[in-house]
């Protein structure tokens, strides 16, 4: 009877009102020959206590007690207590998509504030109320660029973009005419000469990541310029924390900015749910995918919020819709809203500075170890790529034995270029201390 209410007496009263003898009689709509003639083969039910013990045992088999220097698109940033507390409110997490504005002003205003905060962070005029995660946000941006430019032939993407994001883009276009062309990297950043060579007047957009997958800082301004000169849109996949110190996408000329928002107060939880951010110039608002919340007034002239521009969506336009997205990542967008509200301009700047300073200290110390070098001589922000003489495997095992996780290794990504296959990523967030970094270096020296 887990979570059910109606007692046998009540069930009987209900059946009497319906005018049937049994629930089975209601189920005769399902032809007998299609009905399952046995119980489902599932594990036996558990009480809350038994389940907690069972889950506890499974969770204990996961090792999360090492100090985390893992990166590659998901980071161990600090999450202020307020976020869990507010996001645990049933009024937020058990609410439905805010189609009934009168019953959803709390959510609608919070999503409007999310949009406004993302605009303040990126420098753009418009943000949607979130997409699935960083990888699909890249694909949605590419489709949006095709609608804006009416060019469906080619999408350029830098090899410096997260290999899994590139893989997602290839999946999304696999049945279409669109060709995904990869711009190679040199010394860890997008090869600008190659970018100029590969772009043409059939190209819908040029996509790059800032800082890129290897941790390196790209010449964003130049890449946006190259796109613009050929009438393509520039799409940047940015690290939200980096904007505490680095130029905003709109300020260096990008047309569309997307991001993985996990850094903004979302727990790691083995890769999801995360948060896809998408912001752009006002000109493209009607070509954007996803939900948009608009400020308006009610019949009494009171300021309020509604889901706006729904006529672009799948429930109206069906096969002509701007995208097939139906759910968004509301609860994660809410967490990002709380995070940005708590951090404010100074908190974002300090977090970014701490990441940058500590990452550089860690890189300086690690590269003092014999046989350990930076793979690229290119400026980086909070993550960098190491090359370890004789391969990374032993190195990582020693780190793990001493209580530290580094990585991921670039060799686990089939899409990463062969020249960097022996690299290993190291991410350093504001959560790491000098003591931890020194202990890591001591263990590996």
């Amino acid at each position: 009877m887990a979570y059910l209410y109606n007692t046998p007496e009540q069930q009987q009263q209900m059946l009497d009102v319906i005018g049937v003898e049994s629930i089975d009689q209601l189920l005769t709509q399902v032809p007998k020959e299609l009905q399952l003639d046995r119980p489902l083969d599932l594990p036996a039910p558990m009480t809350e206590l038994a389940l907690e013990q069972h889950v506890g045992k499974l969770a204990a088999k996961n090792n999360v007690d090492r100090v985390c220097f893992l990166g590659g698109g998901a980071y161990d940033h600090y999450i202020p207590s307020v976020i869990d507390e507010l996001a645990s409110r049933g009024e937020y997490y058990t609410a439905y998509t805010p189609y009934q504005a009168e019953a959803s002003q709390g959510t609608l205003q919070a999503f409007f504030e999310y949009q406004s905060l993302i605009c303040a962070l990126t420098g753009f005029d418009v943000s949607n109320a979130s997409l699935y995660e960083g990888g699909t946000a890249v694909s949605e941006a590419a489709f949006m660029a095709m609608r804006v430019t009416r060019r469906h032939g080619k999408v350029l993407i830098s090899e410096g973009v997260h290999p899994e994001y590139r893989h997602v883009l290839e999946t999304y276009v696999r049945n279409l005419e669109t060709e995904v062309v990869t711009i190679p990297t040199v010394n860890g950043t997008t090869d600008l000469a190659k970018a100029k060579e590969l772009i043409d007047d059939q190209t819908a957009c040029l996509i790059f990541q800032q800082p890129n997958f290897f941790g390196c800082v790209e010449d964003g301004e130049e890449l946006c310029k190259i796109a613009k000169e050929h009438g393509a849109l520039s799409v940047v996949s940015f690290d939200p924390i980096s904007l505490g110190v680095m130029k905003r996408p709109a300020d260096y000329g990008a047309d569309v900015a997307v991001a993985e928002g996990q850094s903004l107060g979302v727990p790691l939880q083995y890769g999801g749910p995360y948060l896809g951010i998408l912001a752009c110039r006002n000109d493209y608002v009607r070509k954007m995918p996803g939900r948009l919340i608009s400020m308006t007034t009610d019949r009494n002239g009171k300021q309020c919020y509604v889901l706006g521009l729904q006529t672009r969506e799948q429930h109206i336009r069906r096969d002509k819709a701007t995208s097939n997205i139906c759910t968004n990542q509301g609860l994660l967008a809410l967490r990002a809203t709380f995070y940005l509200s708590l951090m404010g301009p100074e908190g974002m700047r300090e977090a970014a500075e701490l990441c940058c300073q500590k990452a550089h200290y860690a890189a300086d110390q690690l590269t003092k170890i014999d046989g350990v070098d930076l793979m690229f001589e290119t400026p980086f922000f909070k993550e960098f790529t190491l090359r370890v003489e004789g391969g990374a495997e032993k190195f990582l095992k020693r780190a793990a034995a001493a209580g530290f996780d580094l990585g991921p290794e670039l060799s686990q990504f089939p899409q990463a270029p062969t020249s960097v296959q022996d690299g290993v990523l190291v991410a350093v967030t504001e959560s790491r201390t000098k003591e931890e970094i020194d202990a890591l270096v001591a263990a590996l020296a």
């Binding site: 119980p39 999360v64 002003q105 709380f338």
Partner: protein, 490 residues
């Protein structure tokens, strides 16, 4: 008493110099930022985020939260959305140390507990579907649809066939055609028969050797079981096509019948509907797909596989041999998948069947009690939801489905889904779910009985007691105001 100061727009609460989050001092030797990062990449000033104290943030968002309806406070009879109770144990369990804080690139040997759990979930979803091969990757139901359509295309191409068409009934969820178009297919729409079901004879006229997939929701969006589904499936299979089951309405048939048994070749689940991942005011969801064995090699990866080594079970992340590729980065919406796992382990086989039986009982009870004021044009009985029509009320008294929906908010009930599916005039789609009591359903019926006797002009003005009343959606669409700072500048 409503606190109207704290609910003012967030940016207006900002006060220069105010701080919430404080970060530790830098404990490593500091260097000039301009020596670490290229000068031209550095911001000239900080982003114009609001400046707030921690108390500002807490009070603002706590007060906003009170301006919402939600399942924890209200009955949500929303057709097609399955707004059932979200068990509290799931929230704590999903944050268990070792689950909530596991990095996606933790090595497999450090994630055996998580992989074991996800493997079990794959197995359970395969059994419930009657379709044994499962990928948990898709982030939402609509992404599950897209994955399955790419999969179908890859499957046909592997056989040297280039099929271009996807067929669906006009009552289908809008994501079906949107996903088909995004996957590069031409969409063919089928009109339903008089009884609201797909007519196999009509379907025959619309499918041929160019048809890749027929997408169908069963039970359908009218809450009726497609009784000819076996025949429909064989029509598709006869022309070499595949049958896709939109799993949005799985809540009606758990343990009663299985898509794999009634002819489906592929389906998606909406974990946030059927298996109680909370809706989160729009998401996140999770949209795993289940397919027949002969399609397993094409699934999006990674999937979890199990092997036995030295007498112990070892779990790995594996990409199927002819995989269509990744649908998103990392594994999937694991936090929501965990909630689905907890739910299935709590209920077991009999519990799941009870869920569907009670969902069907509650829906038929509501339908029977409302039938004199809100008749249901099609079907003697329904499954877990039904579509009533306010057409008679509109013709006789000028009362629309929207009027009733809005007025229900005054009675403390969320509005049903209105004007969908399009095949019913003045449609009101009602899904009580199994987690509502007879008392709640009775109170809902009484509210509707009261409303339909009210004056039409009074109803046009409804809701009367909510904090805002009928927002101007037309101007919001014509001249959208999407960003506080832009509004202020204007």
């Amino acid at each position: 008493m409503r606190n109207t100061i704290s609910t003012r727009p967030l940016f207006e609460l900002s006060f220069p110099g105010r701080r919430a989050a404080m970060l530790p001092d830098c404990d490593v030797p500091e260097q000039e930022l301009s020596s670490l990062l290229p000068e031209k990449s550095l911001a000239e000033k900080t982003a114009p985020l609001p400046e707030l104290a921690e108390g500002d943030v807490v009070r603002h968002f706590m007060n906003l939260s009170t301006m919402n309806m939600c399942v924890d406070t209200h009955f949500y009879p929303l057709g097609s959305c399955t707004m059932k109770y979200n068990p509290k144990r799931h929230e704590r369990l999903s944050r268990t140390h070792g689950l909530g804080d596991l990095h996606p690139y933790a090595r497999p040997e450090d994630s055996q507990g998580m992989l074991h759990l996800l493997y079990e979930l794959q197995e359970m979803l395969g059994e419930i579907a009657g379709l044994p091969a499962v990928s948990l990757q898709p982030a939402a139901g609509a992404q599950g649809e897209l994955a399955a359509l790419h999969l179908a295309s890859a499957y046909f191409k592997s056989k040297g066939e280039n099929r271009t068409k996807v067929v669906f009934p006009s009552s289908a969820h809008g994501t079906n055609p949107a996903s088909a178009a995004l996957a590069g297919f031409d969409c063919v729409q089928l009109e339903p028969s008089e009884n609201g079901l797909v007519d196999p004879d009509d379907l025959l006229k619309h499918v041929d050797e160019q048809t890749a997939v027929f997408m169908i929701t069963n039970p359908n969006t009218l809450g009726l079981f497609e009784k000819d589904i076996a025949k429909i499936s064989s029509i598709l299979h006869d022309v070499g096509g595949l049958v896709y089951i939109d799993g949005a309405n799985m809540n009606a048939i758990l343990g009663i019948t299985r898509p794999g048994d009634f002819g489906g070749d592929m389906m998606h689940y909406n974990v946030h509907k059927t298996f109680t991942g909370p809706h989160g005011a729009g998401g996140p969801g999770a949209g795993p797909i289940a397919v027949r064995d002969f399609l397993a090699d094409f699934l999006p990866g990674p999937v979890v596989t199990k092997s036995e080594e030295d007498g112990a079970d070892i779990y790995r992340l594996t990409t199927p041999s002819r995989s269509i590729g990744r649908m998103r980065s990392f594994f999937g919406n694991v936090g929501i998948l965990l909630r689905g796992y907890f739910y299935l382990r709590t209920l077991g086989a009999q519990g799941l069947r009870d869920v569907s039986e009670h969902a069907v009982l509650n829906a038929n009870y509501l339908k029977a009690r409302l039938s004199d004021v809100l008749p249901v044009p099609r079907g003697e009985f329904c499954m877990h939801e039904f579509v009533a029509s306010a057409r008679q009320l509109k013709d006789a008294h000028g009362i629309t489905a929207m009027d009733i929906a809005k007025r229900l908010l005054d009675f403390g009930f969320h509005a049903p889904t209105v004007y969908f599916p399009l095949v019913v005039a003045e449609a009101m789609m009602i899904e009580p779910t199994e987690t509502e009591s007879k008392e709640t359903l009775d109170a809902f019926v009484e509210a509707i009985q009261t409303i339909v006797k009210e004056d039409a002009s009074f109803l046009h003005e409804a809701p009367h007691s909510t904090i805002i009343r009928r927002p101007d959606e037309v101007s919001a669409a014509r001249n959208p105001l999407l960003n506080w700072q832009a509004c202020v500048k204007d």
